[in-house]
């Protein structure tokens, strides 16, 4: 794994830009969050995106993030994840994003506010894991086609869609976080976990790298 650009959290926060990816790990995680980490073989259980950075004189900037939570796509302050007792955070950035593309990504955020969370997808992920374990059969294609509601999001599919639709069409291949050649497009776009984003070389680590 490559080293992060910043080793100090405050320095990383001071240098955040719109569309940077915030990875979070809930320290006192419930069974669902632990399940997400286990299923994706990752340290992280959630991803969010920087929505706005409000810079203030002589103070750490106020950072707003956009994320898919149980009530849907919502905007919150990064502050809520800075309590080290409850959360660990990491920061990644997709390189080569232009200002115009960041504006388009911001437009995507605003368009998707209040879009519901895709609970059926979580059910699908679990179903895939159970069937794989019991019968050694992957049912992910069936899940991708029949269970996933592509109008709704989980945290990581929201992140993937924002980059895919935000960048220039000729750059779309370069912002896919699942890099396995041969997988189908729907699977790449929608069957994605925070672990896929954490492990992907599409985005570079700015702070606190963990797979």
């Amino acid at each position: 794994m490559d080293a992060a650009r910043y080793t100090d959290r405050s320095e990383a926060i001071r240098n955040l830009r719109v569309a940077d990816i915030i990875m979070t790990r809930t320290k006192h995680a419930n069974w669902l969050l632990r399940g997400i980490r286990k299923m994706s073989h990752s340290y992280w259980n959630h991803s969010a995106l920087v929505f706005e950075v409000i810079r203030q004189k002589d103070q750490e900037p106020e950072v707003l993030i956009v994320e898919a939570l149980d009530k849907g796509i919502e905007i919150h302050r990064l502050h809520s994840y800075l309590n080290e007792k409850d959360f660990d955070i990491g920061v990644k950035r997709v390189p080569g994003i232009t200002d115009e593309e960041r504006e388009r990504i911001l437009g995507f955020f605003l368009d998707k506010i209040d879009t519901p969370y895709d609970y059926t997808r979580l059910f699908g992920y679990m179903l895939n894991r159970i069937v794989l374990k019991l019968a050694n059969v992957k049912v992910r294609d069936m899940i991708a086609q029949r269970i996933i509601n592509i109008d709704n999001f989980v945290c990581s599919s929201f992140t993937q869609r924002a980059f895919y639709l935000g960048v220039a069409p000729e750059k779309r291949d370069r912002v896919m976080f699942k890099e396995n050649a041969g997988t189908n497009f729907l699977y790449q776009m929608e069957f994605i976990t925070p672990g896929d984003i954490a492990k992907s070389k599409t985005a570079e680590w700015l702070y606190n790298p963990h797979d």
Binding site: E52, I75, R77, G107, F108, L110, D111, I113
Partner: protein, 223 residues
């Protein structure tokens, strides 16, 4: 193509793009960042008591923080508002960001009006927006059902309740304008009498105060 007579706005060729409330009250004018959205909840007992106690048609306020821009990919105005969903502490939220369409598309549950502070520079509007965003997730002061119910039947209790009740939704808007404005212009954005200290003013201003205030003008669906 459908033709509809829209109240106060003549004939509109195609109202399919209009929200349900715009079909009733006419198309929204071009909104600006910092415009104040007045909201009436039609199916909430707490809100009903609040309207009675404050003697206003409106019971909730929100602030426009992004105006719709289909060219940039979003076709709804975005509001920031302080919300109390339920009476229980655990379910109470605070300052949140939502689409304005959630109110405009549900005329059975809501009515909506819009006010604007005039002669406000774009720079000040940006400061209002930044202040509001910095308060996202700030907690909500409870609207106590029992107190409001009693206040709606007794003038004495009404005075007592209104003297100490804090309104997060309208307080957020008052604070945003008060803090964004240069100090010599702050009095222009006081939505209730300046008899209050600035701190009282920012905490105690109610949706009714904003609705009745001359510091902002009605631009849509006056009540």
């Amino acid at each position: 193509m459908h033709k509809h007579e829209v109240r106060g706005h003549g004939t509109v060729d195609d109202t399919q793009h209009l929200s349900a409330l715009e079909r009733i009250h006419g198309p929204l004018p071009q909104l600006m960042i910092g415009d104040i959205v007045m909201i009436r909840h039609k199916k909430s007992l707490v809100r009903k008591f609040l309207r009675k106690v404050t003697e206003s048609y409106w019971d909730h306020t929100a602030l426009i923080i992004f105006t719709k821009n289909p060219e940039k990919g979003y076709s709804s105005n975005i509001i920031a508002e302080a919300i109390q969903y339920q009476a229980f502490d655990a379910w109470r939220r605070g300052v949140e960001v939502h689409k304005m369409d959630r109110y405009l598309n549900d005329p059975d549950r809501y009515d909506v009006g819009v006010k604007r502070c005039m002669n406000v520079s774009n720079e000040l509007r940006d400061h209002v927006r930044a202040f509001t965003l910095m308060n996202v997730d700030a907690p909500y002061y409870r609207l106590p059902l029992a107190d409001l119910a009693l206040a709606s039947i007794s003038r004495t209790i009404r005075k007592f309740v209104l003297k100490r009740q804090r309104f997060t939704c309208s307080g957020l808007i008052q604070k945003a304008y008060w803090n964004a404005a240069p100090w010599e212009r702050r009095h222009m954005f006081a939505f209730r009498d300046l008899g209050d200290s600035p701190i009282e003013l920012q905490e105690l201003v109610s949706p009714a105060d904003i609705a009745k205030s001359d510091a902002c003008e009605w631009i849509w669906n006056r009540h």
